[in-house]
Amino acid sequence: MKLIPLPDLGPHPVTEFDYGGEQSRPPLVADDATWAAHVFNRTGAPGVLREWWYHRPTGGWYLFERDTAQDRFLRSIPVQDICYELPTDTSAV
């Protein structure tokens, strides 16, 4: 059974995880076609993907770079590297 190397907890069986798919940042300002491409299109070809994995026992999300041809987990990505600012809600209380 596949093992996934958690950054702090060591290898854990893949059955403890839910796959969250490819990580991608929505284009906050985009024309309709660009937006649609973000919603539906994916990096389909084999290669290194940044993906979300949810670890059920600890209730935590992890980001990994994985080689999708070899099924090799290459490294874990700090979430800070991918986070982005929400547009400010000026009208918020």
Partner: protein
């Protein structure tokens, strides 16, 4: 006993013709090049030659004929889909399948067994009724049946499923069938070759030449070919091909696993599918139980097997068929499924002139083989999408005009 057998006995088999050509050189140019020598590619080549009289057609196959998902699926043919688009498309496919052995003069062991999709919950039952209603509207033999009907047809099944998730009813689809999957590819391949199509195995496409948004040719490990029309029919390899022309698609590749038991005397006539238990099973003409589940949960470009898959499958299968516990699983394997967000294929023209896509087959590609070949041939020749495949156009993902086939799944929870 058919006369043909007598002929074999008396005259031997030396005079039997070849199915496929021996290795031959690539020409410099073709009218239409098809990437992928699986069922879809060979069917398309066959119809291009037979129905459209296209003279110079080449099929390029990186491995051997039918070696991809054509030879890896669990051979089920049915048309009891949820959406009108899906139902009409697969109904045409099923009708072509019914005549195919005669058409291709090859016994495909097309065996009408009847197909049960089991419902284990109230919401699943509702979805089955939806499918049945849509199916009946289009004249498809499909109906919602109760436990008694299932018990009568499949007495070996434990309708209580070992105590959890009992079967509440099923969608019964009498025309559901199985066929010898490899033979479908061989029959189309032979028919295409007999009509002048060139078939090149061990020929891998390494690049595609596009000039001014028009296809001009393909590069292969055996040299470059010029062509104005190129059809990609490569299922799990689609993203590698679309990447060559810079085309983005929603397709992601997920492994789909299957396994087979040692052959036993026939006891299971129908095809049984349970979405809730993630099991489908039928018994092949050789006597093996051929079984599968849903796709693996994460993207992977590999045909590796996992042990967890067989464990899970065995556990759920025994809920339905406790009597099969003594049978032994002989072999497991996997294919690479090209999944789309709406569980419907992507077919037809693309923004690149002369580049046609037949992809996104997910776990349903085999049953679409004849009709895909036929409609893609028409589409390539006329450079416009055939009526039946219009709903499956790539641009639906730009227009937010998805096909509702996934609705079946979404309501199933």
């Amino acid at each position: 006993m058919p006369l043909r057998l007598l002929k074999f006995a008396l005259r031997g088999t030396d005079a039997e013709p070849r199915f496929f050509p021996p290795e031959q050189p690539l020409a410099d140019q073709y009218d239409i090049v098809i990437i992928g020598g699986g069922g879809h590619g060979l069917a398309c080549a066959y119809y291009l030659a037979r129905e459209h009289g296209v003279k110079r057609v080449a099929v390029l196959e990186q491995g051997y004929l039918g070696g991809g998902n054509t030879g890896r699926n669990t051979t089920i043919v049915r048309s009891n889909y949820l959406t009108p688009e899906g139902v009409q498309f697969y109904d045409q496919s099923l009708k072509l399948f019914q005549d195919l052995s005669e058409d291709l003069d090859l016994n495909l062991f097309y065996s009408t067994r009847g197909h049960f999709t089991l419902a284990h919950s109230d919401s699943a039952l509702r979805t089955m009724r939806w499918r049945a209603e849509v199916n009946k509207h289009f004249g498809i033999d499909s109906e919602l049946v109760d436990r008694q009907r299932i018990a009568k047809a499949v007495p070996e099944m434990d309708l209580d499923c070992g105590g959890d998730q009992p079967v509440l009813g099923a969608l019964w689809h009498a025309p559901g069938a199985v066929a010898r999957h490899d033979a479908v590819a061989w029959g189309y391949g032979r028919g295409a070759w007999q009509r002048g199509v060139e078939i090149h195995q061990k020929t891998r496409v390494t690049g595609i030449r596009v000039e001014g948004e028009r296809v001009r040719g393909v590069q292969t490990n055996r040299g470059e070919i010029a062509c104005d029309k190129l059809i990609s029919m490569v299922a799990g390899f689609t993203p590698r091909i679309t990447e060559m022309v810079g085309l983005q698609t929603p397709i992601e590749i997920f492994p789909l696993q299957a396994c087979v038991t040692e052959p036993v005397k026939p006891f299971l006539n129908s095809i049984i599918v349970s979405g809730s238990l993630h099991v489908y099973v039928s018994q092949s003409s050789r006597g093996e139980l051929v079984m599968g589940a849903s796709v693996d949960p994460s993207v992977l470009h590999s045909t590796r097997s996992s042990f967890g898959f067989v464990e899970e499958l065995a556990d759920k299968l025994l809920d339905l068929f406790p009597l099969t516990g003594r049978l032994r699983v002989m072999r497991q394997w996997a294919g690479m499924s090209d999944m789309t967000p709406d569980f419907a294929p992507i077919m037809g023209t693309t923004p690149i002139t002369g580049f046609y896509l037949d992809a996104g087959w997910g776990t349903w590609g085999f049953k679409a083989t004849p009709i895909s070949g036929k409609t893609m041939a028409w589409t390539a020749v006329n450079d416009q999408n055939h009526e039946l495949i219009k709903p499956f156009r790539l641009s639906r993902f730009t227009d937010f005009d998805l096909v509702g086939e996934r609705g079946a799944a979404s309501v199933g929870h």
